[in-house]
Symmetry: C2
Subunit: 907 residues, 2 copies
């Protein structure tokens, strides 16, 4: 049995409080709380979620009987506090009726404003506001909204017009006017009459003049909207139980447009852009809330200091400022003082930066809403650290105040927002690697290198990139591709380089021969300037100025906090000394994935690589490998030195060999000359390397097990490099990682080759070093048989890119054809290449970890797929007990924060 159906609030008292969200909904609980804090809130009452269930269960009539007396008490309370009267023609009591569920369901349910207006009350409102047009406009809006929401006056079909808008159009046509604002009082009166007639025609009933009937109708509509199709779908997606129901909030309307002593505005307790602890905000005199947002009138600053600063930057004289854009602090010093005290009170109460909405009605300040304010990444970090310093929050709270992904904004260049304003968006792709970049279009990696050598700023534009483009990518300001997803080659490499990239911009047509890029009819040529926003995927025409990031002391403090609380450590995926140093700076404790194949494209070595691949037999391969050995060794020496003191996990050659060989005539000719064999033979060998599904082909340890000499060479390069550095007094801990293991036998065979080679090198060098041999777990079968593999492996590193590909049966390079549609239709909630699929792939990761540790309790377990830098995935890794995650250098701070948050959440 329901004990209490309605909770009153207003005038500094409230029957509810903040922890009654289940009963009062989020909004209702908050309105009560604001009253208790002592903030002036328009009075009202909340009808509980229990009444919603009752309404659905017992039906409208029965529910009304049960609640009607309480409703009357609620309205009386509002009338008392506001000094108004429901339906009065002098001082009418007008209310809003809004839904309010336990959790916010934005836009899902219905709202009715200005309720209480009728043919009498509209006269009262006109008098009170001394604005007849406003009163009638409010009235026609109310009739329209009520007709739509409560009386179900919807368009007849998808293609049909809204019945009320049709009436408005006919009136405007008759008067030959274009804008709604041109409608005068008589027009508005005509509209109200016509609206009511339409309602009568359509529903068979008169529009209810009785405010009580209006009120009950609106409440019923809000309760009913809990069961509308949109809301049910939303709940299904967000796992919100159907039996929660919604509460209804009935609250007095207040108006900021009742004359020169009325106003409306928004304010922030700190600076949402920089994080500085400065009260700020904007307001407009004699205006409604939407006027501030709409941008038709330029809003004024609230504080004097803010107002002066704004005027200076806008080149406005002090005189003009005072005349046209006076601050609230000057215009209404008392109200400003009250507001200023309230913002402090609220921030202190909620212990976070608040975003306030207020209205001043006839010199009376009303707070309409307070909520935690949105902020930039930079502000997020600064506020958290400041509030920690101010002892407003504790360390764990400070850690949780920063969304890991938002750290990106601190690490990458961003566009100057002003500069963006006059810029055309060409199209949008995927936000593959964050940051902002401008440059001249080039279509080939070679051209990028040439242009860069001439100090030109370029954007490399490709249908897709391949490992051959690495150097060109490295010298470009940004990379744009027409195909490929968030984990395409371009995206992965760009993130590794910390370089801005937009991938998979499907609307682009690229013509390599003509060197043009077109979208629809618009054509861009080599040399034209374009700009990329790698954080949003937007592609702009022309050059747009960017701003470089600077790492603040607050960032450092945050990282120290992470260090204090985290249980997992973070490594980086890095293939060059430069990347290693960047990652070290961000706090990486070693390399979790060093891909040897990227080195193969550097300088002259690609020729030797090609010679190795195209060799006719083992002898030929060994000859070419001998050429590669010193180059790989020196690569490793450089990387080991950059990472000295920390372990470096080196993955053996992974991609299919055909990725390395030349597919063009010139390149094939070159190799034919190099190797002294006919081009025809080169062509044949290149063709023989072709595969139907290279992702599932002859790659990873399958190469090392069919051509053991490659494994030998790579082992030798690693171990010799480590011993050479040891002689220089530099500590190294190489960890050899065998890729693409599917069976324990594959691993054992590779381990055997590695160990034999190491024994030989130790003997030759008469020295020893520490090392580890482990494997990537990236094939489903490896996760399933992890217990067997772990018997001989010293570490596991989950390669969740490939594991996701094979567990889903999706090719990263091809999924662009259906993934966007799947995300759109809700078949997938996230792109599994961006956010680890915990439900499916996660099972294999957890299984692999558990089974591996089951037979080898000392097994070190980490992750080195792209997910290693994605916060929710990092938290999953923590949950299943991994030792570390590894990610691209620029995501190291993000991973560190996510790991620390996961650890904090444990306790």
């Amino acid at each position: 049995m329901i004990k209490k159906r309605i909770y009153l609030f207003g005038d500094g008292t409230a029957e509810g409080k903040t922890d009654m969200k289940n009963l009062l909904g989020g909004k209702g609980a908050n309105l009560a709380e604001m009253n208790l804090v002592g903030v002036p809130v328009p009075p009202g009452f909340t009808i509980t979620t229990e009444v919603c269930s009752e309404y659905i269960e017992l039906g409208e009539e029965k529910a009304k009987e049960l609640v009607i007396d309480d409703l009357k008490k609620g309205i009386q309370n509002i009338e008392k506090i506001m000094g108004t009267k429901f339906g009065d023609d002098e001082n009418p009591c007008l209310v809003s009726v809004r839904s309010g569920a336990r959790v916010s369901m934005p836009g899902m349910m219905d709202t009715v404003l200005n309720l209480g207006l009728n043919d009498d009350a509209v006269i009262g409102l006109a008098k009170k506001t001394d604005n007849e047009r406003f009163a009638w406009d409010s009235y026609r809006r109310f009739v329209q909204m009520y007709g739509d929401v409560v009386l179900g006056m919807k368009p007849e079909s998808k293609d049909a017009n809204d019945p009320f808008e049709e009436i408005i159009e006919s009136v405007k046509e008759k008067k030959e006017i274009y804008y709604d604002t041109e409608l005068d009082v008589d027009d508005l009166k005509e509209l109200v009459t016509k609206f009511k007639a339409a309602i009568k025609r359509s529903t068979g009933h008169n529009f209810p003049e009785d405010p009580w009937e209006q009120l009950w109708g609106a409440i019923g509509a809000v309760f009913g909207s809990w069961e509308n199709e949109r809301a049910i779908y939303y709940r299904k997606i967000h796992n919100i139980p159907n039996d929660w129901g919604t509460a209804v909030n009935v609250q007095a309307m207040v108006y900021g447009n009742m004359g020169e002593n009325s106003a409306t505005g928004v304010a922030f307790t700190r600076d949402a852009a920089t994080g500085e602890n400065i009260f700020n905000g904007e307001y407009l005199i004699n205006a409604q809330g939407e006027d501030v947002v709409a941008g038709i009138r330029t809003p004024h600053q609230i504080t004097l200091e803010g107002s002066r600063r704004w005027a200076k930057s806008s080149d406005i004289s002090e005189e003009e400022r005072k005349k046209q854009f006076i601050s609230l602090e000057e215009y209404m010093p008392n109200i400003y003082q009250e507001l200023s005290e309230i913002e402090e009170k609220l921030e202190d109460h909620y212990r976070d930066m608040q975003d306030l909405e207020f209205t001043i009605q006839n010199e009376k300040l009303w707070l309409l809403q307070t909520r935690t304010g949105k902020r930039t990444g930079t502000a997020m970090v600064k506020m958290a650290m400041d509030m920690l310093d101010e002892k407003m929050i504790d360390e764990k709270t400070a850690l949780n105040r920063v969304e890991p992904n938002r750290l990106d904004e601190l690490l990458h260049p961003i566009f100057d927002l002003e500069a963006l304003k006059n810029t055309n968006v060409i199209t949008k792709g995927l936000p593959a690697s964050p940051g902002a970049a401008s440059g001249q279009i080039v279509f080939f990696a070679d051209d990028a290198e040439k242009a860069s050598a001439n100090d030109k700023q370029v954007i490399l534009v490709r249908i897709e990139t391949s490992p051959e483009d690495l150097k060109g990518m490295n010298v470009s300001n940004g990379i744009l591709t027409a195909r490929g997803g968030m984990t395409s080659h371009a995206a992965v490499v760009a993130r590794g380089m910390g370089k801005c990239c937009v991938s998979g911009a499907g609307a682009l047509k690229i013509d390599y021969r003509e060197k043009t890029l077109s979208v629809g009819d618009k054509v861009y040529r080599e040399g034209d300037w374009i700009s990329l926003n790698g954080s949003t995927g937007e592609i702009y025409e022309g050059k747009v100025d960017t701003k470089s990031p600077e790492l603040s002391g607050d960032f450092g403090k945050l990282m120290e906090l992470c260090e204090k609380y985290t249980k997992m450590y973070v490594r980086t995926n890095a293939d060059t000394p430069k990347d290693s140093l960047v990652a070290r700076k961000f706090g990486a404790k070693g390399i979790g994935l060093c891909r040897t194949e990227h080195m193969f494209f550097e300088g002259n070595r690609i020729k030797a690589v090609r010679e190795m691949i195209l060799a006719e037999d083992e002898k030929g391969r060994r000859k070419a490998l001998d050429k590669l050995l010193p180059m790989q060794r020196s690569d490793f020496e450089e990387i080991f030195e950059a990472m000295k003191g920390f372990p470096v996990t080196v993955r053996f050659l992974d991609p299919p060999l055909h990725e390395f060989v030349p597919h063009d005539e010139t390149g094939q000719q070159e190799m034919a000359e190099e190797m002294g064999i006919p081009v025809k033979e080169i062509k044949e060998r290149v063709a023989a390397l072709d595969e139907f599904n290279p992702m599932l082909g002859h790659r990873g340890c399958r190469l090392g097990n069919t051509y053991p000499e490659i494994t030998e060479m790579q082992t030798r390069a690693i171990i010799e490099a480590a011993i050479n550095l040891k002689k220089k007094g530099i500590d190294t801990i190489p960890e050899i990682m065998i890729p693409l293991i599917g069976t324990a036998e594959e691993f054992d065979m590779q381990k055997n080759i590695v160990e034999k080679t190491i024994a030989v090198v130790f003997k030759e060098k008469d020295d020893k070093i520490q090392y580890k041999i482990g494997t990537m777990i990236e094939i489903p079968r490896a996760a399933l048989t992890a217990d067997i593999i772990a018997k001989t492996a010293e570490f596991f590193s989950f390669g969740t890119n490939d594991l996701t590909q094979m567990t889903f049966g999706y090719s990263r390079d091809d999924a662009g054809k259906f993934l966007p549609i799947y995300l759109d239709k809700g078949i997938l909630k996230h792109d599994p290449f961006q956010i680890l699929d915990q439900e499916g792939v996660g099972q294999l990761v957890e299984m692999g970890t558990k089974r591996g540790r089951g037979t080898n309790p000392n097994l070190k377990v980490g992750i080195c797929g792209e997910h290693g830098g994605e916060p929710s995935s990092v938290k999953f890794c923590h949950k299943i007990g991994m030792d570390y995650v590894s990610c691209s250098p620029y995501r190291v701070p993000i991973a560190r924060l996510a790991a620390a948050q996961a650890a904090v959440a444990d306790k």
Copy 2:
């Protein structure tokens, strides 16, 4: 403490028996048993496996001390029975020393023959056999064998010659002779002398003349060979524990070459080729065992009837037969009688067809070995059914007597063995689809059709086949491909058609332009005859006669037995009414996989399919789908009718769309005209369909979820077909199967489209039918989340082809580059596309089944991958509780037998 080290046997008694295999090894236990059955076996004794362990543990000296007294007793027993004496120069006792582990390890361990020969005994042997050359040849062989096995006289390196062979060569060179048989007694004596000198030089010791020393040396060598590298490796592969050890059998030598009253032969208790219950075999007078096998002398038949039949078929007169090829029955009637009784006794004892080796030494019959005889598939079935009739074995035993895979031989044509004799093998590929076929080479499916229309017999030779080749494959006698494995397109389709196929013959070079097929220097042209053995993978030059199979009543009886015992039922994978009927005949209870895409290539419909794929938008696709609908519907009507009364599982469109579109200029031109758009546009659309990894691309339910109109059309075709047949009084139970499901949402979305379409069709037709909607489980993620998917799916069918691809990360089409090497190196025990990988993929199958049934106890579970017709995989399916397996029509009997055997094994 070891109680008894040596077990004697001989003269109809034995201390051991057949169930003492752990102690006596397989051979020792068998020798004992033969004595107990009353079969004359050369006497001897078995040194137990415990002594082997003792030998390894305590060392040679100590072990010898412990066993020497027993050894003496053993030799005395032989001497007594044989009337010989160890080392005697009149009647020497000669023995063999052989290993004998618990399980056979063929060729892994050492053997010494003719032991006991020395400078005295050789004289005795010469006298006794009246054949000095034989005696000295035996002696030099003994010294050589003893030197090699016991004294370690091996070649110095891989490339070096055998030291004894070098001596033989030098003697032959000196005498200017070529063959060993040209060596005379003096030469042999010289060899013995030289061998002994070499032994002395190499080991520092004289060759042991003392037979006791010889004996102990040989025993030690056999024990020692348990620990040799080969044997250890063999045990590792076959999971044989190292501590089992081997027994040693010492047995009197008997000789069939002691003159005209000696002989040697092999015999079978029934006909190994036909299975008929006819005693048969071959023998040679005055010969050794190896002479019968070597084929230098033509062996005689044992029975008179056999002899006469043989003479007739060899065109030999009765006179000549009696003179040259007299039967044992005529030549030694008493011995024949004895042998004849023994064979009956042995078959009766072992209750299976026996393969006997016997030697007659001076009119005394000795049985050297009896074992279960190998037999053809036909014989296997006949013998099992005959013995069941004869009440020799029970039903379950009869079921287990037939190896399921061998049923293939009853179902497919085979080569006439005589015809094969003079035929050259060109090369060998994979035995992709069993049977035998001859035909003229064609290189294009079109040419195959044309040739077939002119009544020519053709073999279609392709680098690989694609769905476009289907019609050409269908009219060819056999298919040969240079690439692709056992589950390549060619292999799968051919097995489905029951057509002979050899795939992945890597040595073949195919030049489509020149229309040639070459292997090394040899070139074959279009029109040349070749022949394929799809059961062995051999490819023959020219035309070879084949024999058609006839299904015997025994086969029917076997199938009835299967029906009686099986728990799972068997369905078929069939896409045509013809295949359906074949499978029905073999006992399939419905179709488990009907692939709709194969129908798309038939007749004119490929044009409509291409139009659908190349359409610009949904409207264009619907237009083309409308053309396809009546064709698909009539396909289904035919198949449903062929399978009437049984369920038919129809899988929706599965392969990536690019497989259907024309990649050649002509085809593209044709489509451009058909659709009235420029060729350039066709080319662009074809190019847009290209994928990097089509196996992981836009296919399966991903097509149906992005183009729901395809799902609608296929649903409509199925349901309309079923309703049309219902009106004709034909019962159908369509089961709609959604392919490539990875998430429950994917399935639910497809199910929703299917159900909506069905509701529309039911309404239109004003009729209803029963149907089911289920899914393939072929993506690892589907198995992992089977509990969720099963909530809405009515059946699961494991598509283990794709599941294997994704669980291993192997592409069937590309694995040819490393799979053979993996199998060779022992990284994989089997090709996982042929034999279900129970360790890895099997986990997912079991998990999927359990989890699915966990949320949906009524879930019907089956398998429709290639493994559904592979016996060990079928048994696995039984073990995890599947309801059915589905396989290609010609494998239905195999699957039925395997399923029945699995059920029998349960009890």
